[in-house]
């Protein structure tokens, strides 16, 4: 009581608003009823994991204005109807009108234009809508969306059936649109993009990646007066003259022309000359970097990001970049040919502000370059050194001593890294993501330093680190309580003991543990019983896990969303249990299951057919399974991948 006497409600609200982490919020809610009430009332966004709780959740959080249903197993018209009807009837009347953001990506094809039209009529305040990866979304649905007049942000990635007609519907209906992503909408052509540019004048960000559009589209896009960002990755029909069209506009701040086969340096030069305010240039896989291009970079006073992955560079090129771009924060040289120590030295020498450096697959880079980076860029946050196999503990030592802000380090395949290197690296206590895949020389000792010092770690990749054993997992479960994603595939030393200790990682969401022969059903059961939040589990080739482990999964892992059971010795009954009992399961890989009969598959699929979105099975089953179940799966929008 005393604390409530001191803290008035508005103070509580303000304190609550500062809490970002999910776990902390949970703790907050558990303090007392008043705290819980404050949290319920102030909560603005909600990501629903299981659709059966959606209504009670909405009742609990009446002021939610951002709703994310992308993780729900099935979102269909019926669900949306109920949602909107209940929303209106219950205390959450505000939902009906105040919802500003709605994420319906990967909602399967159970959702049609009827549901979307309901949303359009009920949520007139909607500003942000994500419909990406709904492969069967077509023009009719697009037409339904076009009823939301105030829409500002719309994602339609991989809505494969949306054509120009649908796009035009949206363009005419939602004229306030500021952000639009049309990535992989393969049916959209120049006609649609042209009309979009005529109608949606407030457009600021546009993504037309992988579309079969030509220069004509770019010509009309250039007329958009407010366009700031254009992403056009992998547009094969666009060439330099298209970029010249783009140079008619003047407002561009971001451009991504990666993997556009027809585009060369000269096109980019004309673009740069016109858009002097460019801040981000992503031009991966350009055929060459001409002198004119490097020279034109001088014009860009505000350039902060330059990503030229996969191009041919030389020391002089890197030097010119260094002298022409003074304010770079992010540099990407992934898979560039010709990156040397000297080049890196010249590049980073004048860039104290550099935060992100990607040197993936720059094989000739050694400790000298890493030391240079460490010396000049003290504010480095992200460093990728994948496959830089000459980097050793010396480089890491220098890095750890000067770049204390490092959050993300990728050392995959850096075979020169050993335990003492990790000891040095553990000084970077802010580390969030660490990738050590294929580092064969590291052992439990090295990881123990990391576990002890890097308490913020969320992601750890130990793929094929064969020197790693149960001790590492024990240390991680004690030190890295925030770990969300862990890859221990093919760390063959790991046994049931290690699995049991993993169970105490309360935040663990994603675990990949392929090929762990020493883990049995006991270990998996112990882990599953404790790991409540697990959503993604890969058990491929864990051949010694028996039914007891899978039973435990079926009983405890209710948040499991994706599972890979390929090459596992699971029995018919247990598979059926797993597939039927896990109500959040959306994706299952069921390849090469030696103990499963055709009937077993049939039953398991029947048990999950209402909610599963994706199944992978061996292709022989195609003929053996009953056509009925295949039809049901198809009708429910489930994608079957035949291996």
């Amino acid at each position: 009581m005393s604390i409530l006497a001191v803290l008035t409600e508005d103070l509580l609200v303000r304190v609550n608003s500062r809490i970002e982490d999910g776990a902390d919020r949970r703790s907050w809610r558990l303090v007392c009823k008043e705290f819980l009430r404050v949290d319920s009332l102030t909560r603005k966004s909600l990501r629903v994991l299981r659709s059966e709780f959606i209504f009670s959740l909405l009742r609990r959080f009446p002021n939610v204005d951002a709703l994310d249903l992308s993780a729900c197993p099935r979102v269909d018209d019926g669900m949306l109807t109920l949602l909107l009807a209940r929303g209106a009837a219950s205390t959450t009347a505000s939902l009906r009108w105040n919802l500003r953001s709605l994420n319906l990506s990967r909602a399967t094809n159970g959702m049609s234009f009827k549901g979307l039209a309901l949303i359009a009529s009920a949520c007139s305040q909607l500003e942000k809508l994500d419909l990406s990866y709904n492969c069967r979304l077509g023009d009719r649905e697009a037409a339904a969306i076009s009823g939301i007049e105030g829409l500002k942000e719309l994602r339609l990635d991989k809505c494969l059936e949306v054509t120009d007609v649908g796009l035009v519907k949206i363009a005419v209906g939602c004229q306030k649109l500021e952000k639009l992503s049309l990535k992989w909408c393969m049916e959209i052509s120049d006609l649609g993009v042209n009309l979009l540019s005529v109608k949606c004048w407030s457009l600021k960000f546009l993504d037309i990646s992988y579309l079969k559009v030509t220069n004509e589209s770019l010509c009309s896009i250039a007329s958009l007066p407010k366009l700031e960002g254009l992403t056009m990755v992998g547009c094969p029909l666009v060439n330099d003259s298209g970029l010249e069209f783009l140079s008619r506009g003047h407002s561009l701040k971001e451009i991504d022309i990666s993997r556009c086969e027809g585009v060369s340096s000269s096109g980019l030069v004309s673009l740069i000359r016109a858009h002097c305010n460019l801040m981000r240039i992503i031009a991966g896989y350009l055929p060459e970097l001409s002198a004119a291009l490097l020279d034109s970079l001088k014009l860009l006073k505000n350039l902060t990001t330059l990503i030229i992955n996969g191009t041919q560079v030389s020391d002089t090129v890197l030097q010119t970049i260094s002298s022409n771009c003074k304010s770079l924060i992010e540099i990407g040289l992934s898979k560039c040919i010709g990156v040397t120590n000297v080049g890196i030295l010249q590049l980073v020498s004048s860039h104290q502000k550099l935060k992100v450096l990607d040197l993936t697959c720059c094989g000739s880079v050694t400790d000298a370059a890493v030391c240079a980076v460490a010396d000049s860029c003290s504010s480095l946050v992200r460093l990728k050194l994948e496959a830089c196999y000459m980097v050793t503990e010396k480089g890491l030592e220098r890095l750890a001593s000067s770049c204390l802000l490092l959050e993300e380090v990728d050392l995959t395949d850096c075979s020169g890294i050993n335990d003492s290197g990790l000891e040095c690296l553990s000084r970077c206590s802010r580390l969030v993501s660490l990738k050590l895949g294929l580092c064969f020389t590291i052992s439990d000792k090295g990881l123990s330093y990391i576990a002890a010092n890097c308490s913020e770690l969320c992601e750890l990749d130990l793929y094929r680190c064969t020197g790693i054993g149960d001790e590492t997992l024990a240390a991680l479960s004690n030190g890295c309580k925030k770990l969300k994603k862990l890859n221990i595939s093919y760390c063959i030393e790991i046994t049931d003991r290690g699995m049991k200790s993993l169970g105490s990682l309360g935040e663990l969401v994603d675990l990949e543990m392929r090929g762990l022969h020493n883990v049995t059903g006991v270990g998996l059961a112990a882990f599953a019983a404790m790991s409540k939040r697990l959503a993604d589990l890969d058990l491929k080739h864990c051949e010694n896990i028996d039914d007891s482990g899978f039973w435990a999964l079926a009983c405890y892992s209710h948040n499991l969303r994706q599972i890979n059971l390929s090459n596992c010795n699971i029995s018919d009954v247990t598979l059926c249990m797993v597939m039927g009992n896990l109500t959040r399961l959306q994706e299952a890989k069921l390849v090469h299951l030696p103990n499963i009969t055709v009937e077993g598959f049939e039953l398991a699929l029947r048990a999950c057919c209402v909610r599963i979105k994706k199944v992978k099975m061996v292709s022989e089953l195609r003929l053996l399974l009953s056509s009925e179940i295949l039809e049901i799966l198809h009708a429910k929008g489930c994608i079957i991948r035949w291996d």
Partner: protein, 482 residues
């Protein structure tokens, strides 16, 4: 208006032909305006700008640039006009015009006279007299027409230049893809749209051939000959045939003498005969019997027709009623059977429908239309799964009242500038990009409301399938949200 104007079908193809005629018209008006100015201002260019500027004064800001460009261009056109046609003489023109005026007055009086006389003598009119009167009037009218045409002919060079310029005027950066898109399409239409006379004539011409006058022999078939369904008649029974070969086959029925190989053989071609006589062959070209037609040999800019078939098709398309009606759409009319058949092949297929109810044969035409008008959207045809929902989104009342629909051409030169009524800058600028393309605006007043139908909220067919109930959840508190 010219005969094409009566084509009131609704495909874009028709539109484009209309737009051509409109273009010509506006160009014409432009030239008249220039005339006016020349007389008024003694070729003072700056004052003509003032003149224009004054009129643009009320325009909306985004239009100004556009209009200015037009002005500049038209001035250019004028300059080039001055350079190109030095022989043009305003005073001669004035003479001509006053002559015409006199003529029309005379005619007017004469017709007046006839009417009053008729009124006075209500008895059965003398047939001979009326015939004479008619002939007299026709002759006078013809001479007036000829005079008018020849007078206008002196203006032709200038008209052309202006026409060209105004065609290219609306080509700012943003609009050019559309333009590029649309202009080649006009020529492509020849294949796709089968209704418009002009396009067909282009077709007949092939590439416009420029034979020097006199290098070919001009034949002119009479109207009856052209319209006669059959050209080969049986000398015995009088039955007519379209082809000589058919006639010869027919002749076999009339007796054995017509069955001989000689009688059945193709008669020797005239060419062979003439070559045998070693005379140089004169190329044959045909003239349309319709006086005043461009294809008539008396026309100042006569363009001959290549074959008899061309003559027939031209005459029917241009100077005859369109009596064949498409049985599918019941709107398209044709005067040539082949045209109807071509149309019927495509009619009803791939209809691109706008929410305003207008249909288009091609997607790009529909999109061009949508780009011009605010609030118009493509209509999605009803699903095959019997869910008839018209998704037309025409709820925006501004769309129907944007004033574009009321644009009229009657005010001639003002039509070019008549964008004042457009309320939103988007639509205004969009339409500005192709000011000559307002062919599709002649809907009359409001647009026909497209079948509007809301979504049925109480749809009972929604299935809510959630099989969650059977399972027991160990931790419902942490599971539900994140």
């Amino acid at each position: 208006m010219d005969p094409e104007a009566e084509i009131c079908g609704d495909t874009w193809g028709t539109r484009s032909s209309l737009s051509n005629s409109v273009q010509e018209k506006s160009a014409d008006f432009g030239s008249q305006q220039q005339l006016q100015k020349k007389w008024d201002n003694n070729n003072n260019n700056s004052s003509s700008i003032m003149d224009y500027g004054f009129r643009i004064g009320q325009q909306q800001p985004p239009l100004e640039e556009q209009v200015n460009r037009q002005i500049n261009n038209s001035i250019q056109g004028k300059n080039s006009n001055e350079n190109k046609s030095p022989e043009w003489d305003p005073s001669a023109m004035l003479n001509n015009l006053s002559f015409l005026e006199q003529k029309i007055h005379q005619l007017n009086d004469m017709v007046h006279l006839i009417i009053t006389r008729k009124g006075r003598v209500p008895s059965k009119p003398d047939e001979l007299l009326t015939q004479q009167q008619q002939q007299l009037i026709t002759a006078d009218l013809t001479s007036i027409i000829v005079q008018l045409i020849s007078t206008a002919g002196t203006l032709l060079p200038s008209v052309k230049t202006i026409g060209q310029f105004s065609q290219f005027t609306p080509k700012p950066a943003a609009a050019s893809p559309d333009q590029q898109h649309q202009q080649p399409n006009n020529s492509m239409d020849v294949d796709h749209n089968y209704s418009t006379t002009e396009e067909h004539e282009e077709h007949e011409d092939g590439e416009a051939e420029h034979l020097p006058p006199g290098s070919y022999e001009i034949l002119q078939l009479e109207k009856e000959e052209i319209l006669a369904p059959h050209t080969h008649f049986c000398t015995i029974c009088g039955k007519g045939f379209k082809r000589d070969a058919n006639l010869r086959m027919h002749m076999r029925g009339h007796g054995d003498e017509y069955k001989t190989p000689a009688a059945l053989a193709k008669p020797p071609a005239i060419k062979e005969v003439s070559s045998a006589a070693a005379e140089p062959v004169m190329i044959k070209r045909y003239s349309c019997p319709f006086s005043g037609c461009k294809r008539n040999k008396d026309h100042k800019k006569f363009q001959p027709l290549k074959t008899i078939l061309c003559v027939k098709n031209h005459y029917k398309r241009t100077h005859c009623d369109k009596s064949y009606v498409c049985s599918r759409c019941n709107t398209k009319k044709f005067s040539v059977m082949a045209d109807l058949k071509t149309h019927e092949k495509h009619c009803g297929r791939d209809k691109w429908l706008c929410s305003c109810g207008t249909t288009f044969s091609r997607k790009d035409k529909l999109f061009g239309h949508i780009a011009l008008f605010q609030g118009h959207t493509p209509a999605i045809p009803p699903d095959e799964t019997k869910t008839v929902v018209a998704l037309a989104h025409t709820d925006d009342p501004a769309a129907d009242d944007s004033g574009l629909g009321r644009m009229d051409f009657s005010s001639g030169d003002q039509a070019l500038m008549d964008f004042k009524s457009v309320d939103d800058p988007v639509g205004a600028v969009a339409s500005c990009f192709s000011p000559l393309n307002f062919d599709s605006c002649n809907f009359g007043g409001g647009f026909p409301e497209f079948n509007r139908q809301g979504f049925d909220d109480s749809e009972a067919s929604f299935s809510f399938l959630l099989s969650g109930g059977s399972c027991n959840y160990s931790n419902q508190k942490t599971g539900g949200e994140s």
